[in-house]
Amino acid sequence: MNYISLIEYLPYIFEGLLWSLALVLGGLGIGFTIGLPIGTMITYSDKYTKFILNVYIWIFRSTPLIVLLFLFYWGVFPNIGLKLSPLITSIIVLGLRSGAYQSEIFRGALESIDEGQILAAYSLGMSKIQAIISITIPQALRISIPSLSNEYAILLKDSAICFTIGVLEVLTRARIVSIATGIALIPYLIAGIILMMMTYIGLKFFHTVYKKTVIPGLIEGI
C-alpha cells in the first residue's frame, strides 16, 4: 500500500471533476433540448403522437443506464460508422435518458397549469401555439425547477457509471489510482465526496434560481 504516491495522485482525481461536470451539464442540456419539446407535444397533441413519444420515454427510462451505454458505445454508434469517444457517447446517452425524464417533468408541470389560463389566451385570439409558447411554457419552466434540480442530482450520480466505458471522470481516476497505489478506500471515498460536494453546490444553485424567479404574491401549490 503506497500512501505517498496516493497524495501525489490526488490532483489527478480532482481533475476528473471537469469531465464529471461535462457529463452532467451536457446530459442536462441535451435532455432539456429534447425534453421540453417532447413534454409539450405529449401534453397537447393527438393520441398517435402521444403513443410514439411515450414509447421513447418508456424505453429510455426503464432500461438501465449501463445497458444503454454499452449498447450505444459497442453497438449502435460503430454500426452507423461513428467513432465517438467514451465522453461524447456518454453525454449523448445521458442526454437521451435525461430527455425522457425531463419530458415527464415538463408534462407534469404543463398539466398542472389550470385550464383558465389557456382559455383566456384563446379569448384574446391567440392560436394554440401562441398560447403554449407565451403563456403555459413560461409558467411550466418555473414550476419545473425543483424537479430539474433533482434530475441534476441524479445525473451527477449516473455520470459515475460512465466509468464503465472509460470516461476519465472522478471515479475512473479513483479506480486507476487505487490500482496504482493498492489503496482502495481512500480514493473511492474522495471520489464520492467530490461528487457529493458537486451535488450540494448544484442544488444550492437551483434553489437560488428558484427563489429569484418567484412570481410575486403567488403561493406555491395554489
Binding site: L124, I135, R142, I215, G217
Partner: protein, 250 residues
Amino acid sequence: MISDTILNVVDLHKKYGDSIALDGVSFRVRKGETKVIIGPNGSGKTTLLKCLNLLVKPDKGRIWLGNIEITDPRININKIRRKIGFVFQDFNLFHHLTVLNNVMIGLVKVRKLKKHQAYKKAVDALSTVGLDNTLYHKYPAQLSGGQKQRVAIARALAMDPVIMLYDEPTSSLDPQFVNEVLQVIRKLAKNGVTSIIVTHQIDFALEIADEIIVMHKGRIIESGRPTELLSNPQNILTKKILIRNFRTLR
C-alpha cells in the same frame, strides 16, 4: 339583416353527454345594446356565452358577428376572437405577467402592435377601469379580487372588441369588491359598449339592461325590457327568479 346588428344567434344546441346545455337558443344584439342573461345555475348561461366566442363548439346552430358567420368551419377563429372581449368568472389573468403585460400581451402577440403603441392602449384601458400606474408592475397574485377583475376587463377592452362578454363577472368576488367591478361595467355600457352580461346580480341586471334574457334548462323562457318583466312576467319561472334575487320586489 339589420345593419347595426352586432351579433345574431340562431338556434344553438349543445349537449354534454346526456345532459342538454342549450336547447335551441336564438337572439340578436344591436350595436350599443346591453343584454343581461339571468337564470338558475345549470340553465346554460355560461355555455351560451362560451359558444359566442367559440370556446365551446355548438352542436347545432349558427352565429353571425356582423356580416361574418363565425360558425362556418372555414373561418379563422383566432381572427374572430380578437374582436370579442371575454371576461371570465375566475379572471384567468396570466400568473407570470405583470398587470401591464397582461393587458399588453394580446396587443403585441395577436394584434401585432409595436410595444409603444401597445403600451399606450394598455394604459388607456387600465385608466378606463380605474387602475393607475401604481399597479402596473404588480403581479395578479398581489391584487385584490376586484382589482384582478378590472385588469381582466382592461385586458379584453384593450383589444377594441366589437362586443364584450362578461361571464358572471362578480360571482367569484368577496362582497366588498363587487361594486367596483359593477361600476366599471356600468360605465362601459353607458358609453355605448355593446355588452352581454351573465350574472346573478338581479338588481344590477334590472338597472342597466336594455333587454333581459331569462334562461332555464337550456332555453330562453322569456325576454324583454326590465320594466316589462317586472310588471308583467309571462312565465311563472321568471317571476320566481326575479323575486328570489331582487330584494325589494314583492
